[in-house]
Amino acid sequence: MTSVLPAGGVAEQPTDRTAVRLSGVSKVYGRGPAAVHALDNVSLDVAPGEFVCLVGASGCGKSTLLSLVADLDRPTAGTIEVAGGARPGLMFQEPALFPWLTVAGNVGLPMRLRKVSRAERAERVAELLRTVHLDEFGRRRPHQLSGGMRQRVAMARTLALDTPVLLMDEPFGALDAMTRDILHDEIERIWQQRGLTVLFVTHNVREAARLGDRIVLLSSRPGRVVADWRVDVPRPRRIDSPEIAAIAAQVTDRLREEVRRHGS
Amino acid sequence: ACGGKSGSAAPSGPVTLRLGYFPNLTHATAVVGVKKNFFAERLGGKVKLDTKTFNAGPEAVEALFSGAVDATYIGPNPTVNAWQKSKGQAVRVVAGAASGGAAFVVKPGITTPEQLKGKKIASPQLGNTQDVALRYWLKQHGLNTTKEGGGDVAILPQANPDTVTAFGTGAIDGAWVPEPYASRLVKAGGKVLVDERDLWPGGRFVVTNLLVSTKFLKAHPDVVKNLIAGQVDANDFINANPAEAQQVVNAALGELSGKAPDPAQTADAWKTLTFLNDPIAPSLRDGAKHAEEVGLLQPVDLTGIYDLGPLNAVLKARGEQEVRA
């Protein structure tokens, strides 16, 4: 059902079937004695169409890794390659909505930047807002929304990017269990429909098991890949199914061990 | 049109004469000449007169230097500056326009030069005509002054309107200023200690003259001559009809501020002015010498600053007495 690789990172042979490849990536913030080694020699290959969940303790470097893959920051060492020159879309850990735009304006912006026609844009924005169950809120401003609603708008906006590679940083952190379940179905549907490659950071190990083809565990300071599970549960999956629970338990044990070793 | 072009145009072609002046009392010659068309009549149909008004001397000289005007009415002080800065190349004085119109007004208690010791006296601007006159007069009466306002009498260069306000509040004890400010100080309770006319032979000293760019003078001597002829007409008119001239000047001042000054005040100031075509060359030279003596001017050679040929030609044609540089 699951296969645990040896800790220390993936060492597969490079193939053409790689959507995202990190080779020996390190990231150090600052210099001198105050330097923070956020990532240390991380290597990771993600196949096209794969749904990879990243888990790890708070502050272990997950967000850093995503921002490197999204080319918003440069690694201190190592290389990052994204297949076909595609720019990955990133859903940030914070909603990062533009306060000067309405909800619909925020969701429509990536399309405006791609010069999608106004009519098509309106249609797609409406569809995306339906996906995140905010169809009535298009004309609101970000400050008029609740925390969870903002997160959903951010998700719709990232989906509007239409990129083949999607990076999501705790997209459902501020959502109640029900809404989260519904959005699990939606994101799975979109992933399958569009044939996306997804790198998905979460703290909810069950969520990782519910969604991922693989679960990658990062250690803390410095961030290293310490475990990599393949989740072979057939889809559609249910988050409260015993198989998912079993995998979650296994990952949780390993995570607990990591946290104990390093402190949080 | 820029100065270069009109300066080098063929004398026969259409010419634009750009004439500057200040809308104030001592420039009454120019104001009347423009408003009553004396210039236009003399210049004839071929020459277009384009007038520019300035607020102060430096702008007028800048405009003359950069070719934005061809001639301007201006005071003796900027005249000397323009001559000196351009090393005698850029400008010539071709006529006088007005004389007089400056006085030393003090608080009523002051009646003798000795009483000025330790007092604060304003002048319009360091090194200008009145400032030099003040310092020279004080020096003649044994009172020392310095450029920095030290010495026996503290001299404060200050804008004339502010001088009137300051005198009104008692912040200064007197001022050597041109008209109409001298009249205003008198109205504010001041007393004339020195009427500058009393210091000059014949009571005459230059306050306004006509400065022409050398280039324009060379290119269009006939135009300059006609301009001067217009000015002579204007001065004749002023001297023959002082009341009407005052009205014209008052109206011109009103155009600027939206409000004409009190005619009585204008009449008061008018009495201290003489409108004449003689540039009173000795007073310019003596003024410069005085300035040198009180340490406000580098020695300057004014030889050649006057070109009174056209003026004398006009005067001669009218049977009037010629003037000398």
């Binding site: 921002s67 999204a70 918003l72 720019r87 879309g89 990133l90 940030f92 914070e94 990062a96 533009f98 306060p99 000067w100 735009l101 912006l109 990536p110 405006r112 930047l113 791609r114 401003r141 970000p142 400050h143 008029q144 906006r157 990017l161 | 820029c2 750009r18 809308p23 104030n24 007038t51 520019k52 008004t53 300035f54 607020n55 102060a56 430096p58 702008e59 800048e62 405009a63 950069s66 070719g67 934005a68 005007v69 004339n160 309107p161 009137v164 306000t165 009104g168 509040t169 400010y181 205003r184 504010a188 001042l253 155009e255 600027l256 501020s257 939206g258 409000k259 000054p261």
Partner: protein, 282 residues
């Protein structure tokens, strides 16, 4: 129980307006009475000082004298022409300065070598008094409206550029990163992210720029007095030279009123911005 619901002075005033449900009339009144009170206060003090005989009336005229002067002026065509001329010059100069200031500001804010080269020069230009530019203005533009415009633009553009720079500098990095991630690069990043995010600082810079433009203009109008075209700056100087205290004060009132109107324009832009951003509810 006795809950702690007392609110200290300032905060009570802060919160007063948060309470909704006021009628329209009440709102107008709330914005009008402080203005009227301030006006009454100023007039009162002035009148009392006048009555006290502190200074002669020709130095410090009575309020009614000034208002009589103003009442006389508003009936003349020249008064309105002067305002129209100066306003037109001010607007043209301001628009030009805004265009130059915006471009300069954006360029300097984001292009490092330009910032190193010109960053400090902008402030230095801002501190240069208008009269210093007069000779250059005449040299370049002779005696023309353009010479006045030149002085106005040199006065206002640096201020606007500085507003833009400060705005661009404080755009939250997260929003920039979001914009980049959406494929906004170069110009489109400016258009869709940097510009709107720095709009508040830009509006504030434009307001400061207007003040610089207006001051430079009133000085610059003395540079070349264009015949047959009355202007406020010339008017102010003319009255000053006549030592017409009442006239000077009444012209100051006109300038003040124009300033208040200009402020109303900027403030309404600013208020709309704050409402949209959800900032007026704190």
């Amino acid at each position: 129980m006795g809950a702690d619901r007392t609110i200290a002075g300032l905060d009570a005033l802060d919160l007063a307006a948060t309470a909704s449900g006021e009628s329209r009339l009440a709102k107008v009144w709330a914005s009008a009475w402080p203005k009227l009170l301030a006006l009454a206060f100023v007039l009162g003090v002035w009148q009392v000082v006048y009555w006290s005989g502190w200074r002669e009336p020709w130095v410090l005229p009575a309020p009614q004298e000034v208002f009589a002067d103003l009442a006389r002026a508003v009936t003349t065509a020249d008064f309105w022409r002067a305002i129209a001329t100066t306003l037109r010059r001010g607007l043209v100069g301001f628009v030009l300065a805004a265009a130059i200031g915006l471009v300069l500001g954006v360029a300097v804010a984001r292009v490092r070598p330009l910032r190193a080269a010109l960053g400090s020069a902008i402030t230095a230009l801002q501190t240069m008094p208008s009269i210093a530019w007069f000779p250059l203005a005449i040299l370049l533009f002779q005696i023309s409206e353009n010479a006045i415009l030149f002085v106005v633009v040199l006065g206002a553009a640096p201020s606007i550029a500085n507003g833009v720079i400060s705005g661009v500098d404080y755009v939250p990095p997260l929003l920039l990163r979001a914009g980049r991630n959406f494929g906004a690069r170069g110009l489109s990043l400016y258009r869709y992210v940097v510009a709107p995010a720095s709009l508040p600082a830009i509006v504030s810079g434009l307001k400061q720029g207007w003040a610089f433009a207006w001051r430079s203009l009133l000085a610059g109008e003395l540079l070349v007095i264009i015949a047959q075209r009355p202007a406020l700056g010339v008017r102010l100087q003319g009255l000053r030279e006549q030592n017409d205290a009442a006239g000077v004060i009444s012209t100051m009132i006109v300038i003040f009123v124009i300033g208040v109107l200009a402020d109303a324009v900027f403030s309404s832009a600013d208020r709309r911005l704050r409402r949209a951003w959800g900032l007026d509810q704190a």
